[in-house]
C-alpha cells in the first residue's frame, strides 16, 4: 500500500518571539493555504525534544487543540533530535497499516527562551549517565568523534569548516532559514571554541521553529489538489546510548543500518539518490552521513565538500535548505524541516534552489547517532 505526502508547511526558523503553539500554527497555515483538506487527518504525531524549554508535555493534545483537530488521536514521540522524523515514521506506519487514511506529522521546538547552559543540559539527557556525570556535553561528543576522524583519515579543521561554508551558501537562498548569509572558511576557523576542535561555526544554532507534513493513502492522495510525493522507504535503527561504547566512534552504525534497510525497502542504490537532507548538527556529522549513505567511502567523505559534489550545482546536492547548520535546528522540528525541503525539491517548489531531483533522502538522528531515522521520497 503506497504512502504519500500531500502537503507540507514550515514556520520561519530562527530566534522567534512566538511560543511553540504559535510556531505550530504558522507551519500549519502554510499547509492549509496549499489548498489541501487537513480534516482528512485522523491522527496527529508530534516530535518534541524536551519539556524543559516550555515546561510542557502533552504536546499531542496541545497540537490537536491548537490546530483545531480535537478529539483526534494525538501523541508525542521522542528520540531527541530524531523526534521530527519519528513523527513522520508514526504517520507512515498508521497510514500503511490501513488504520487511518491520513495522519499529520508535526515537529516543534521553542528553545531560545532558555539559556545556553539550560539547552546544553537538556541535550545532555540524550546521552548515558556515564557521559553526563563526566561532563561530556553533546558538542564534546561530536568533538571527540571529529578529532578521532581527523586523526584516522587526515581531514583538517578547515575541511570541516567547508561544510558550514557550503550550507550557509545554500541557506542564503532560503527565506525561512535561521542564517541567510554566506560565511568564509576564515570566519569559521576563527570562531570561538565550543568543544575543541568544534567551533561556533561548526555547530547548528539554537533555534525556534515548527514543521508539518500531511501523510495520506493513495486513495486520499489521488483526490488531493496538491502535488504528492511517495514515501518509498521509512527505516529506523539504534546504536549504543553512550558513543564511548562503539568499537569505532567515527562509525555511525545506526545510520548505516537504517540507510541499508531504507535502500533495500525502496529497491534503490545510493546512486539513485538525487538530493539529500542530512543531520549536520555539527559539520563532522555531515561528512559521516556521506559515508553512511554510500556517497563516499569510509574516511573519504570530507573530500566531497572540497570537490563541490554536495553543493547545489554538484552531482549529489546535500542540504540545499542550508541544513541544521544554517537553516537552523529547532530540535523536535528538524526531521520534518528536512522533509519540508525534500517535498519542495521533488515538486519543483524550492524557488531559487531547485535541484530538479526526483528521488530524495532524509537522515535525521538523535543522541550522538544513537537513533537514526531514514526516509526516501520519490516524485509522483
Amino acid at each position: 500500500m503506497g504512502v504519500f505526502i500531500i502537503g507540507v508547511g514550515m514556520s520561519r526558523i530562527g530566534r522567534r518571539e512566538e511560543d511553540g503553539r504559535q510556531l505550530l500554527l504558522e507551519a500549519y497555515r502554510e499547509l492549509v493555504e496549499m489548498g489541501v483538506d487537513t480534516a482528512v487527518a485522523e491522527a496527529i504525531y508530534v516530535g518534541v525534544q524536551s519539556e524543559v524549554y516550555e515546561h510542557q508535555i502533552m504536546y499531542g493534545t496541545l497540537a490537536a487543540e491548537a490546530l483545531g483537530l480535537l478529539p483526534r488521536e494525538a501523541y508525542r514521540v521522542e528520540a531527541c533530535a530524531a523526534a521530527g522524523a519519528l513523527a513522520l515514521r508514526s504517520a507512515y506506519m498508521a497510514v500503511k497499516s490501513g488504520e487511518v487514511k491520513a495522519a499529520l506529522a508535526v515537529g516543534v521546538e521553542k528553545m531560545t527562551a532558555a539559556t545556553t547552559e539550560v539547552v546544553t543540559d537538556a541535550l545532555m539527557a540524550a546521552s548515558h549517565y556515564i557521559d553526563q556525570r563526566s561532563g561530556v556535553t553533546i558538542p564534546a561528543h561530536y568533538a571527540m568523534v571529529a578529532r578521532r576522524y581527523m586523526y584516522l583519515y587526515g581531514a583538517s579543521e578547515e575541511d570541516l569548516c567547508m561544510v558550514a561554508v557550503k550550507n550557509h551558501r545554500h541557506a542564503a537562498r532560503n527565506p525561512k532559514a535561521h542564517f541567510q548569509r554566506a560565511i568564509t572558511p576564515e570566519e569559521c576557523l576563527a570562531s570561538r571554541p565550543i568543544a575543541t576542535p568544534i567551533k561556533l561555526y561548526d555547530a547548528a544554532p539554537i533555534s525556534d521553529g515548527a514543521a508539518v507534513a500531511l501523510v495520506a493513502s493513495e486513495e486520499v492522495a489521488k483526490k488531493a489538489p496538491t502535488p504528492a510525493v511517495e514515501v518509498i522507504a521509512s527505516a529506523v535503527a539504534t546504536d549504543t546510548l553512550s558513543a564511548s561504547q562503539r568499537p569505532d566512534i567515527t562509525y555511525p552504525k545506526a545510520v548505516v543500518e537504517a540507510a541499508t534497510k531504507a535502500y533495500n525497502r525502496a529497491g534503490l542504490t545510493p546512486k539513485a539518490v538525487e538530493v539529500a537532507e542530512v543531520h549536520d548538527a555539527f559539520t563532522i556529522n555531515e561528512v559521516l552521513m556521506y559515508e553512511a549513505l554510500g556517497f563516499a567511502k569510509r574516511g573519504e567523505g570530507y573530500k566531497l565538500v572540497r570537490e563541490g559534489a554536495t553543493s547545489l550545482e554538484g552531482s549529489i546536492p546535500v542540504n540545499p535548505s542550508g541544513g541544521l547548520k544554517a537553516r537552523g535546528h529547532p530540535i523536535g522540528a528538524t526531521g520534518l524541516a528536512q522533509i519540508y525541503e525534500i517535498y519542495l525539491q521533488l515538486t519543483g517548489r524550492a524557488y531559487g534552489r531547485n535541484t530538479g531531483a526526483r528521488v530524495g533522502i532524509a537522515v535525521n538522528e538523535g543522541g550522538v547517532n544513537s537513533a537514526a531515522v531514514v526516509h526516501i521520497l520519490r516524485a509522483v
Binding site: 556515564i130 557521559d131 561530556v136 571527540m144 578529532r147 565550543i194 575543541t196 561504547q245
Partner: protein, 110 residues
C-alpha cells in the same frame, strides 16, 4: 550499581559470555548481542582515543575543562580529565574522588 562499585573504589564493566564483548558500565545483558554478561573490573591504565576541551558547559562544570574517551584493556570509558591536557595515544589512569559535587571517576595523565 555503578555508584555502589564507585563507593568501593572500583569501576566494573560487563564481559559477554556469548560474544566476548566488553562494555561499561556492567549490566547483566550484553549491550552488543543480548547475551549474558559477567561483571569484570576495569583495568587501571588506559590509552586516550580522543579528547575535547569543553568551553560551553551545562553550568555544573567550570570551563574550560577536558574530557576524553580512553581504552582500559578492552573497556572504553568516557571521562573527565583532571589536571592538565592530553593527546590521542597518551597513557592515563582512572581514579575515584570528588568531581563537581559528587563521587565519581576521572582520568589523570601518567
Amino acid at each position: 550499581m555503578t555508584l555502589k562499585y564507585v563507593a568501593e573504589g572500583r569501576l566494573v564493566g560487563g564481559r559477554c559470555v556469548k560474544c566476548g564483548g566488553a562494555f561499561f558500565p556492567h549490566s547483566p545483558v550484553c549491550i552488543y548481542c543480548g547475551g549474558e554478561a559477567k561483571a569484570e573490573d576495569v583495568p587501571r591504565r588506559g590509552v586516550v582515543l580522543s579528547y575535547s576541551v569543553v568551553h560551553v558547559s551545562n553550568g555544573r562544570f567550570t570551563t574550560p575543562y577536558t574530557v576524553a574517551i580512553a581504552k582500559f584493556g578492552d573497556f572504553q570509558l568516557p571521562g573527565y580529565v583532571k589536571e592538565g591536557s592530553v593527546n590521542i595515544g597518551d597513557e592515563v589512569v582512572w581514579e575515584i574522588g570528588e568531581l563537581e559535587g559528587g563521587r565519581w571517576y576521572y582520568f589523570k595523565k601518567l
